[in-house]
């Protein structure tokens, strides 16, 4: 199943240049694991980095630096180590979370310990992430979320279930890459809960009094 909603070009550039805030980078990595199209786009962005790096004016290395480098090679084992065996082939298991999420939420979707934050909405918030806010959300099927926009950037990836909003239908693997100007109101599909991982670099803004009542519950 190929994702149909991808990372924004500006996000790809930011990821490539090492400037994407940590929480957003986790969600981008999770999508990249599932999306060959975005991996190719990332490679294009990395080519820009490679060319800009080559363009710089520099002096040749000093003799001192060269001998330090050779001394490091002397203490390296003669045989290059085998690359570790890939363990990414298990992605067909629908219970398994993307690798990029393991340090923050563990491996298994079933083993997650959800906390109710509002009617029909459960959440797990990652702790200790340096830049931004990272959380898993589990939203009951057929729910309408409060209308909201974002102060900064928000990146959401669907892990299970689906939702629809003015931007289209979002299913597993899809990312919604939104900036501050977009006001949206996702409606989750009937059937199974919609589980997604969301990252923001700034607090969300809900509009309307119902939403303002909900906001403290979300704790965004």
């Amino acid at each position: 199943m190929k994702p149909t909603h991808h990372l924004d070009d500006a996000t790809v550039i930011s990821y490539s240049s090492g400037a994407l805030p940590a929480a957003l980078a986790v969600v981008a990595s999770a999508h990249l694991e599932r999306c060959a199209t975005c991996r190719d786009r990332l490679l294009d962005a990395d080519r820009i980095g490679g060319v800009l790096m080559q363009q710089q004016r520099v002096e040749p290395p000093t003799e001192e630096a060269r001998s330090a480098m050779l001394a490091r090679l002397d203490i390296e084992p003669a045989i290059a180590p085998e690359p570790p065996a890939g363990d990414m082939g298990e992605d067909h298991d629908p219970d398994r979370l993307p690798h990029a999420l393991h340090p923050w939420f563990g491996h298994s979707m079933r083993a997650l310990r959800w906390r109710r934050v509002a009617p029909g909405v459960q959440r797990i918030r990652a702790t200790g992430i340096g830049g931004g806010d990272l959380m898993l959300l589990r939203i009951a099927p057929g729910s309408k979320l409060p209308l909201h926009s974002h102060g900064g950037s928000e990146l959401t990836m669907i892990l299970d279930g689906a939702y629809d909003d003015m931007l289209g239908h979002f299913g597993p693997g899809d990312v919604a890459d939104l900036d501050g100007e977009i006001l949206h109101q996702p409606v989750t599909s009937p059937g199974v809960p919609c589980i997604c991982v969301a990252a923001t670099d700034a607090p969300l803004k809900f509009s309307g009094w119902v939403a303002r009542t909900l906001q403290p519950l979300f704790g965004f």
């Binding site: 520099v58 040749p60 330090a68 050779l70």
Partner: protein, 191 residues
């Protein structure tokens, strides 16, 4: 014309041959040819990102050691050596300087996926000609787009940092970067 390009030391085939010698014969002379050309570029890149001199020297050595260890993973049909080394240095920067301990394992996982893919599909090699087109396209970018691209890559500034530093709305920062990326991508696909 082709002959002249093939003789420049920046040629993709030249670096690809050095990499084969490093991976197959553990050839130190080839390794040092790569070192002499790329170590100063990597160091300048890291110093521009604000990495202090001693740490930058350490990271450059680390990047070249990664090359020594993983030369067999280098795939010239997937990326040129400068692209590959840019990735290595960027990843070390995020790991060591920004202290995001999960970044390297995640990137290694993505590399393996890429590796499996290029073995499966018939990908176009990245030639030095493509790099020349890209370089020209960067030079032709409108001033503001060029500035934003450089602030991203050479200063590693986030969109919101750029937005507040230039007093430019976040949406405009992003849309300028999108336009720049579209132009640069087209240049890489130039016939």
């Amino acid at each position: 014309m082709t002959h002249a390009i093939n003789n420049t030391p920046l040629d993709a085939h030249y670096w690809s041959a050095q990499m084969s010698a490093v991976s197959a014969q553990r050839d130190r002379a080839s390794f040092m040819r790569i070192y002499d050309h790329f170590a100063p570029l990597l160091k300048r890149y890291l110093r521009n990102l604000g990495v202090p001199e001693p740490e930058a020297d350490e990271l450059v050595q680390e990047a070249l050691l990664t090359l020594w260890r993983k030369a067999g993973m280098f795939d010239p049909t997937r990326a040129s050596l400068s692209t590959w080394l840019f990735r290595v240095a960027r990843n070390l920067y995020i790991d060591h300087v920004r202290r995001e301990p999960h970044w390297l394992p995640v990137q290694e996982g993505l590399d393996r996926l890429d590796h499996a893919e290029s073995a499966r599909i018939d990908s176009e090699p990245e030639s030095s000609l493509d790099q020349d087109f890209l370089l020209q396209a960067i030079d032709r970018l409108p001033a503001i787009q060029a500035k934003l691209v450089r602030m991203c890559y050479l200063e590693s500034k986030s969109h919101s940092e750029i937005s507040s530093e230039l007093d430019m709305p976040l949406g405009s920062v992003k849309s300028s970067l999108r336009r720049a990326f579209a132009k640069l991508q087209r240049s890489m696909r130039a016939p």
